[in-house]
Amino acid sequence: MPEKIDYDSKIPNNVSLADDRRLQRALEGWQPKFMNWWAEMGPTLETHGVYLRTAVSVGRDGWAHFDHVNVPDYRWGIFLAERDPDRTIAFGEHKGEPAWQQVPGEYRADLQRLIVIQGDTEPASVEQQKLLGLSAPSLYDLRNLFQVNVEEGRHLWAMVYLLHAYFGREGREEAEGLLHRNSGSPDTPRILGAFNEETADWLAFYMFTYFTDRDGKYQLGTLKESAFDPLSRTCEFMLKEEAHHMFVGTTGVDRVVQRSAELIREHDTMDIAAHGGIPLDLIQKYINFHYTVSLDLFGSETSTNAANYYTAGLKGRWMEPRRKDDHQLTDDSAELRRPREDGTWETDELQKILLLNLDLRGEYIADCQTGVKRWNRILEDAGISFRLALPHPGFNRQVGINSGHHITPDGTIVDEQTWQDGQKHWLPSSEDFAFVRSLMHPVYERGKIASWVAPPRQGINGKPFDYEYVYL
């Protein structure tokens, strides 16, 4: 008799994995491949235990458990938010019908595609952040990096669970494909452009977790509205973890700005590079870059795919149930600003349903703005007049109506030469990257931190900053 595997302890879950032979079989095939992928593409730095949060249930209290864990032994679980048996579809042509517990044949291909694209982004960021552990500014930050990484890994599991449980053999093949595409690979890159960019330094990591993971929040938010209930519930739970990633980004940039402000005050100069700090205009360039690359993730401003997904009930709007309209959007219109060849902006009126990506992007931009406000308050409190800002949404875009135009951060449409000349003032140059990299020396001593970033105000789970978050 082979030993019976205790699935519930090995893979914490609330999907009755122990009773689901089909799902067990699928995961048994997939799990070793995932572990190989993690060994090859996951964090380079080896540790002897990281103080990690592990999701163990979905209830309001005590959903997570904190302890030192050997990273490869982290229990990537499968959790769906609790089911609301009365849930109905909130939008599109199936509005008012009960939410689907199974994939309708008609929408199988579209749903699979949405899940694969979402799934593809999750492990990508682990790959992008592979080397960061080697230059962590503190044990606290190192711990956060691993926390983000294992949870992105778990989010991959979440999507893989859906593919395994609901999409048959093809779903299993797609689940494997998620491990075969790799960030930045010249042969098999990740599906979306932003996930093939490098995350080369810790400032980029904070920016990524602030801007790019925030895109993830909004994408998950629209999938949470899906008529396909398992997808909806999965995303709802993922959003809970995603919040921490954005916390890492928000407070990370906070702490860089804080430290820069301190150095500016201390040395009475904006040029703090020589004093081991990151100048504010360089922080602005990083914002410009990461923000615009993340805007590209929202896709084209007008999108018939998004409209089709909406009508079909596959993907809703942010906070769909709170919107006060007919949730069909075929009779409403909205405005779209587009750049013209002559250097002016024109406003088109279009059916609202064709502008769903723009709608979501609008929500996202408003959210991003709150972080900028927060960082500027630090500057204000320090009596520094410099202000950080989000660039115009037309700036530096590769996707949508602004791509192919040259638009400055303040929204002026200029010729190519002017744009090329301005680029070094607006976006990080190779010298800028080299400078930031020169600051990235690992600090692995308890309670110590690198020169360019301030310590956090609080530790994790009530622990102090100088707690030994990582055993090296």
Binding site: A109, D110, P186, D187, T188, T304, A306, T311, I353, L354
Partner: protein
């Protein structure tokens, strides 16, 4: 309506880059989004309209005549991540029915021309699918001999017409999948009903593509395959090509005139006259002019439903040209014969009533007799010319070797075999009557004409025949003519033109596709099509 010209040259292409690296040619699709032939749509994602396809036709044609040194042609995309999204849907949705059908027909003919070059010209086509490839984009790949697909774990081939648009792949996609690539019918069914297509190993296993190539090595592997294939070509590497100069054409409201072909337009008719040889390069010039005329009339004159075809000139001179070309044995002779074959095929699939008038002074001999045989009816004047009753001149026609297989139809048969399908004795008899002039009574006896009225009845008979024709339903005529013209066996080509396009045309006019709530109309609005569920 937009008046369409088919004049193109590589220097003015908006959508294709043609690069010659002997023995290989690269044809890269790089559609200019704002370069649509008609206002009102953007050609996103390398999607195409008639204008894009006219350039492709021009390129395929020039490669055959101007570049004997080319043995393999690579069709690929110059855009990143997308090969071709197929026919532009907004263009289709906004087009009139006859525009859609005409577009499909021309596109089909170009695809067949690509296969013809591969089969007969030593110019083998390879599709280098370097990104997503859907609908007409995959049909373009299917027209190629080999399909190489980039192995990046996300690029797919797809025929999403049925699930997304409620129509069929209109340029032979379904037929080529099953008949040419021999994809099993159940897999073909799965493939053609899934909107997202098939990628990677499955695409190879199902025979939808031939080979997967890693992304980084893509161009090198494609070029290497093309060179291997080109090495087997029969084309002479050192021969000089023939430049296809711009056509000489003058156009007025009621006439299109070329040096060797004239068309008079009016009264619901087109009267076409093809003149016999007057110069050494007559064969190619006349063929190009006829080809151009057929395309222009089909596209720009949809209401001129009957074409009357005459010839004028010396029958012996026609035969001399024919012997030179068919007996030439070199690559250029072969190209000329195949080009004329394709032009006759264009006539065969033209949805116009075709009537040949064989009169004194005409030269329906050998290859030009094929024009009369392509017609639905042939009338031969049995008597002197109408305007000169004292003349000794009489109409005659002349069979030659060329009428017995040199210019096969899409069904693989000669026009005589099609006319006398299953009557081999009759064909033997006709063979014995080769190479000498046949007068009206002989032509009647041999079954080569529909009727041979004398000079007294001629004008009335012809008028009544034409007026009678004009009174009939054009749709019924289109269907009837296409039935009668293609007897006997099916080929991939006849299936595509006969079955597939007939179904497609029917589906195009159904409310489920073209109605206000149809899939084609609703596409891109974010609203779903509403189908009448009754099966017809």
């Amino acid at each position: 309506m937009t008046k369409v010209s088919f004049d193109r040259d590589p220097g003015s292409y908006r959508h294709w880059h043609l690069r010659i690296e002997p023995p290989v040619a690269w044809l890269e699709l790089d559609v200019d989004e704002n370069g649509g032939l008609v206002e009102g749509y953007e050609l996103k994602l390398n999607s195409y309209d008639l204008g894009v396809d006219i350039e492709l036709y021009d390129a395929v044609q020039r490669l055959r005549f101007e570049h004997p040194e080319v043995g393999a042609v690579i069709i690929t995309s110059a855009k990143d991540k997308v090969f071709c999204a197929g026919a532009n849907i907004r263009m289709l949705a906004a087009s009139s029915h006859e525009w859609k059908v005409n577009f499909c027909k021309f596109t089909n003919e170009t695809r067949n021309g690509i296969e013809d070059a591969t089969a007969n010209s030593g110019q083998t086509y390879l599709a280098a699918v370097n990104g997503s490839c859907a609908g007409g984009g995959y049909e373009l790949a299917l027209a190629c001999e080999k399909i190489l697909l980039v192995d990046d774990n996300s690029s797919t081939v797809a025929l999403p017409e049925v699930p997304l648009l409620g129509v069929l792949p209109g340029t032979g996609g379904l037929t080529r999948v099953t008949d040419k690539r021999r994809v099993r019918k159940d897999r073909a069914d799965v493939f053609a009903t899934r909107p997202d297509g098939v990628k990677g190993k499955t695409a190879v296993d199902w025979r939808l593509v031939d080979e997967l190539v890693p992304r980084q090595e893509f161009r090198e592997v494609v070029a290497a395959r093309a060179r291997e294939i080109a090495a087997r070509t029969s084309r002479p590497a050192d021969a000089q090509g023939i430049q296809l100069a711009p056509l000489e054409r003058t156009e007025t409201d009621d006439e299109i005139r070329y040096p060797n072909v004239t068309a008079k337009l009016g009264n619901g008719l087109v009267e076409i006259t093809v003149r016999g040889p007057e110069s050494d390069d007559w064969f190619l010039q006349m063929t190009r002019e006829l080809d151009d005329l057929i395309l222009r009339l089909r596209t720009n004159e949809p209401e001129l439903g009957t074409w009357v075809i005459r010839t004028e000139g010396d029958p012996q001179a026609v035969l001399e040209h024919e012997r030179r070309v068919l007996g030439g044995g070199d690559w250029l002779s072969s190209e000329l014969a195949h080009y004329y074959k394709r032009t006759l095929k264009r006539l065969d699939v033209t949805s116009r009533s075709l009537i040949a008038l064989i009169e004194p002074g005409s030269c329906f001999a050998g290859m030009l007799l094929e024009l009369a045989l392509a017609c639905d009816r042939q009338y031969m004047l049995d008597g002197p010319p109408i305007d000169d009753e004292d003349s000794e001149e009489r109409a005659s026609m002349l069979l030659s070797e060329a009428n017995f297989g040199a210019f096969p139809m899409g069904n693989g048969l000669s026009r005589l075999e099609s006319r006398f399908y299953g009557e081999s004795d009759h064909l033997d008899w006709l063979k014995r009557e080769r190479d000498h002039p046949l007068d009206a009574s002989e032509a009647v006896e041999l079954g080569l004409v529909t009727d041979a009225p004398d000079d007294i009845d001629w004008e009335d008979e012809v008028r009544i025949a034409l007026e009678g024709r004009a009174a009939l339903s054009p749709d019924a005529l289109t269907g009837m003519e296409a039935n009668h013209r293609f007897v006997g066996p099916e080929t991939i080509e006849t299936k595509i033109f006969g079955r597939l396009t007939a179904w497609q045309n029917w589906i195009f006019t159904r409310p489920n596709a073209s109605g206000p709530e149809g899939a084609l109309r609703r596409y891109g609005t974010g609203q779903k099509a509403s189908f009448d569920r009754r099966r017809v």
